[in-house]
Symmetry: C2
Subunit: 487 residues, 2 copies
């Protein structure tokens, strides 16, 4: 990775209480770039640098962690940090998306379901589904918590829990929302059957069939499917792979397309991995609030920052109750539980009613077990580990793309989450690539499922949710060969 890229990358990292760590990381990155520190050389110890730069040990530690997750330095046991051998540079990044300017009917559902069916077939090396690997989640510990809760509360856990949902869980969620800059009370939260139900309910609360919804381009296909199934229209907004939605373009289309509400994933969006800087989030919230337009914020990947600190949510800047924050525990802890939640601001009563109408309640035992795991199960420790693992896996897949994919391939550089958005040569049809890959027992997600009108014909999304192995490497090699043959 060219250090200039790294430098600008580091500058987009989320702010933390300690803003110095970015400067420290940047300084070391520059030393490496200028050759002052060379591959294989030992860099100053945490203590040395702390004394030299007159910053705290914690600041230097955080800076080194960032450099480590970016693959710039590596820790050697009982020896310190060393500049990593740099044998590759990542491919260039895709540019800003340029969707059509008008609101359109969405027609992507049939294609999505077809792709998903193929993706979930067994014996595939899976880059298709953005499901976290079971090997990375504390399934055993979580199951023990479930069994223990069931034993201690046999009747409660078998009783239907009507909205807003389990109080202990809502309390834990409110407590953790502080990390993303939100002050929430448990009363503002409604638990749901996953983030997907939360998005459904919020959309139904703020818009009607025929209304136009502003979305990122590209966007998660599940959001497109909801919009399509509810008979709404989509207005796709140009989006930068690093900073997210282009606010100037959004401002124009709010009027021209009469946008009723927006659904954005501001932190490590799927599939772009874009992360809107916190200051830009503040502008976004103001822009929408001036027009009283609700923002449904899908923060499913916000926790999975590759840096030690997670970015803020738009909800943190919401003063009008117009941001409906949606999230779940399906990506970080318990995919099988389908437990999610929303903090729908001024739409809370309506969302709570719609939740009751849609599914009556969220399953009780999973809610109780997650509440207990959040309180006592070492969730934060687990999330810290997950952040490091995903950063590393994203780096490894990027490296393999650089090695195996044809010249001209472009790849995003997400600072969180575990998906990569890959732009192939213009003549590659990713739906055809998808079929050829499936025939070789490799799953990928073709670009068209991330667009209202099946654009992004030459893009694919690769999920890096599965731990790296020889099979992953071989599958990426094979994928590169298939692509080369299609050119």
């Amino acid at each position: 990775m060219a250090t200039q890229n790294l430098a600008s990358h580091i500058s987009t990292l989320p702010e933390s209480h300690d803003k110095l760590y970015k400067q420290v990381a940047l300084r070391i990155a520059e030393l490496i770039e200028h050759g002052t520190l060379r591959p294989g050389e030992r860099i100053p110890s945490v203590r040395e640098l702390s004394e030299r730069e007159e910053v705290s040990i914690a600041t230097v530690t955080q800076a080194y962690r960032v450099l480590e997750s970016r693959g710039l330095i590596e820790a050697r046991p009982q020896s310190g940090y060393y500049v990593r051998a740099r044998l590759w540079s990542p491919p260039p990044e895709p540019g800003r998306s340029e969707p059509t300017r008008s609101a359109t009917r969405v027609s992507v559902n049939e294609l999505v379901m077809e792709v998903l069916k193929a993706t979930h077939a067994p014996a595939l090396v899976g880059f298709g589904a953005a499901m976290p690997s079971m090997q990375l989640l504390p399934a055993l510990q979580f199951n023990r918590t479930m069994a223990s809760v069931a034993r201690r509360h046999p009747r409660q856990c078998n009783t239907c829990d009507i909205p807003p949902g389990n109080l202990n869980l809502r309390t834990q969620i409110a407590r953790r929302a502080m990390e993303s800059g939100c002050t929430l009370s448990p009363d503002e939260i409604v638990t749901t059957c996953g983030c997907q139900e939360a998005l459904n309910l919020c959309l139904r609360a703020v818009a009607k069939p025929g209304d136009t919804i502003g979305i990122e381009s590209p966007t998660y296909y599940g959001i497109l499917q909801i919009i399509e199934s509810l008979g709404m229209k989509a207005c796709e907004i140009p989006t930068y792979p690093r900073d997210g939605v282009c606010l100037d373009e959004l401002a124009k289309r709010l009027n021209s397309c009469r946008i009723k509400a927006c659904v954005f994933s501001l932190n490590f969006s799927n599939p772009l991995g874009s992360c809107m800087p916190d200051q830009k989030k503040k502008q976004l919230v103001r822009l929408l609030a001036e027009r009283a337009i609700p923002l449904i914020e899908d923060d499913l990947y916000g926790t999975l920052s590759h840096a030690p600190q997670r970015p803020k949510t738009a909800k943190a800047f919401d003063q009008e109750g117009l941001v409906l924050l949606c999230d779940s525990f399906t990506k970080t802890l318990a995919p099988g539980s389908r437990v999610g939640w929303t903090a729908p601001g001024r739409f809370k009563t309506l969302v709570e009613h719609l939740k009751f109408i849609n599914t009556v309640g969220t399953p009780t035992l999973p809610q109780m077990a997650i509440a207990e795991f959040l309180a006592n199960g070492g969730y934060d420790h687990h999330v810290r580990r997950l952040r490091r693992v995903y950063a590393e896996q994203v780096r490894l897949v990027t490296q393999a793309i650089a090695k195996y994919f044809p010249e001209g391939t472009k790849v995003t550089r997400p600072a969180g989450g575990y998906v990569l958005w890959v732009e192939l040569a213009p003549q590659i049809r990713s739906l055809e690539l998808f079929e050829r890959a499936v025939a070789e027992k490799i799953s990928i997600a073709p670009g068209p499922i991330f667009s209202a009108k099946q654009k992004f014909q030459n893009f694919i999304r690769l999920s890096c949710g599965t731990p790296w192995s020889e099979a992953t490497d071989q599958a990426l090699l094979k994928l590169g060969q298939i692509i080369a043959r299609m050119m």
Copy 2:
């Protein structure tokens, strides 16, 4: 209970393989009516009657069980069956409902949510919510099953299970559907987050906003809420408290109201407890099939027949794939699990897609645990017990109404389920009664929440889901006094 009532009641009991048992039950009922057998007298033993009438032991046993659940005879240990002392006769039944003839917008949601909030407050003697009492469900055994499944399949049970849902569970459901006369394969079934999600998905699959849906009058408020939330209209069909929907009236309104689909609960509907005779179901299915109108069949209470055999579903007569059968395990086994299912006939693919869009998947561990409990946990034994218990509780509440409520009160005589629909004097406003009762820490469900336009002002629904106790008796006495004061 006048024996004439009993006789006609017995004639509406479901057919079983052995059709003789009804005749035998009827004969004994007549002997009691004519005074040949008098209160306190011993009736012929099962063996005696079997020999005398030349029918099987099983037939007589089944007949005696029916007579016992109807409170006509009682078993005395090691002594045989005796005519029960009859100190009360049940109140008369309400007549056929007479809703307006035209399709109407539904506006009941706000009221329902207000009532539910009050109903779920703690420390109430609960006749309001139709939730089964935890004391009657095998919570401990079911929790053991959950813990055991989690231990044996730690990763699988934590993995997201996309539609159509867990195969073992669908296999068990298909197997049990035979009892209601259905031949289903697991492939025809989609699991859901409770029956409520199934009803939502099915309605969205067969109708659009603005379309008119035929429903029973009165009907379960959850169905009214779905129709309202989807911007559909309702056409309420006159319904008999015993036989269910009036087919002549339905036929008329299918045309005049341009009904797009029907949602009926044919077996022990909520709140009427009506059970459409199987032959009439067959006619209903034919009537709708001739017009290619889909029937969403809510069979949530079908299992809870008070007789040993459960009635058939309309799905059993469906040859066109136009019946979308919906059910769940929330009333018979695991309310907290929110696991339901649908067999949506020719709409299966669409329903499966909508399920994915709505909530992605049904929680995995609850599905696996229910599948295992159905296979090995003694579910059938438990259901047999539940049927007897509910029959008895419905009898006891009916008896208390006869004792404590003012003259002129009318009550349904359900042959299954655990709710009673009570017609009070015309001047009683059940919403006012609801508030007065809540002030006395008694919950009831006021009639207006069961109607699109908040009719049934002088009706209430009483749930008999809680085991009988002195507190139940006292609450019904108090309720009777409140009603009397309002007259």
